[in-house]
Subunit: 282 residues, 2 copies
């Protein structure tokens, strides 16, 4: 059982991690070794105090060096669910589950806006986890909305189970070679159904399916953590970065504007301190 | 008239300044070119993301280099009062007054706790400004509680006006050579009086005076800004770093724990964005 699980590898996650490490806490950190793609894409950051006029690539390098210097490890797994179990949290990653006494959400803002019906039908035909739920769709017809090339192997895993897969890549150069896969172009706008999902809707068409998988690295926090209170599309937190769930903290872009490195880093620090105070009070 | 006045040169002030500069705002920044003394005194900072295991001196150097690189100027004046004048703020520094549409308080935490009676008698025998109020005590008896050697010249200025000065240095190696100055050792615990100040109180003695000057670089925000709402000894702010006064924002240690560089830097950034939003809405 970890003291803390940090979810997300942007500046907020980095700040929480280096602070927990400096406080000698036992934590697990889910993210990518390449850190946040959004950092790397930034052209020029002028207002991160202490690192004047850095490119996103340089800032990411500085963060990576910091993490390496402290001997902090990043667990490269996509978290698909965070469940409060009374006294602690279960963190689901594909087929594995980890346990932690507290959780720091630093999931960023990219996926904050799910499409219409996505959250409503979560667990009733909508899934974020191929390896968890794939077997439910054996020989059935599914749609797989894929955010990036890195999830293509999960789509192939689903194709080996399902009868028919409509593959919807929202990036260029998709490459899936299973016979039962049909590539669909366009951006889906919603998920429809009655008790369960019955179709994936586009601007100009509707595809009848039994289920829809959304494969993406950042899942909306409200989908990730059942019961988490949101406000205007962001995780609702107080000045201590506390959410409505005891022991669950949030920081960085997922808590709202300004979407800035310094703000994210500051909240990561506050979240780490709040988690430590929470653990001390348990 | 400036868009923004930043008061304080710690990490919160630095972060607000570099952000306002990157947003091309017209601001004045009150602080010290040496930045915060507290930063320089830090032995080792391990959790400021991007600058692993830096000494306080190195962190201050990185901040100074950043400020220089952006061509930002620091105005080395001690602010003794911030007054909301309906549509804008007046910022008093010794004999000068500056005007700004909004204010960012980044005054740190060192002087957050005034002694008993200090705030109560402010303007009724207690003053923070030798050059503003000295003439009120011509030929009278005053006490001068001095926080640092750098204010000794102000004490000498007061000695030239007053009849008798009890000089109370709260540092070592005080050196005042006016004939009407008596050096008093010990830490004052309170200011007493009825309508006006009548004495400065110590643990073991009480000195009858007509007025008390507190010469220090960081004045409690509630003394600095009349009407500012405090909570548990800190400036009360919301998640946008807004105080109870329109156009007045606060960040860093003066808003509360954790007293951390990353947290201060994050709030400086948020304050700058909130000030810009406030100016846009005016």
């Amino acid at each position: 059982m970890y003291d803390v699980a940090i979810i997300g590898g942007g500046p907020a996650g980095v700040s929480a991690a280096v602070t927990l490490k400096s406080l000698h806490k036992n934590f697990i950190w889910f993210g990518k070794k390449a850190l946040s793609e959004k950092i790397r894409k930034a052209e020029l950051v002028r207002n991160y105090p202490g690192l004047p006029a850095v490119s996103g690539e340089e800032l990411a390098k500085a963060f990576s060096a910091h993490i390496a210097e402290m001997g902090i490890e990043i667990t490269e797994k996509t978290v698909t669910g965070v469940y409060m179990l009374g006294t602690h949290y279960a963190i689901a990653c594909d087929k594995e589950t980890f346990e932690a006494k507290s959780v720091i959400l630093a999931t960023g803002v990219e996926a904050v806006k799910p499409i219409v019906g996505e959250l409503e039908f979560l667990g009733r035909g909508v899934s974020y986890c191929a390896t968890c739920d794939g077997f439910l769709y054996k020989d059935k017809t599914i749609a797989v909305v894929c955010a990036s090339k890195e999830f293509e192997h999960e789509a192939e895993y689903l194709a080996d189970l399902a009868g028919k897969v409509y593959f919807v890549p929202v990036y260029k150069d998709a490459n899936i070679t299973r016979e039962n896969v049909e590539i669909v172009r366009g951006f889906p706008t919603g998920v429809q159904g009655e008790r369960k999902v019955s179709s994936l809707v586009f601007k100009d068409k509707e595809i009848a399916v039994d289920g829809v998988f959304f494969l993406k690295s950042a899942i909306s926090p409200s989908a990730l953590v059942p019961g988490l209170e949101m406000e205007n599309g962001h995780v609702k937190v107080d000045r201590d970065c506390k959410t409505n769930l005891a022991g669950c903290f949030a920081c960085g872009d997922c808590t709202g504007r300004p979407y800035q490195y310094a703000k994210a880093s500051g909240e990561g620090n506050v979240s780490a301190h709040s988690a430590v105070a929470y653990l001390a009070g348990k």
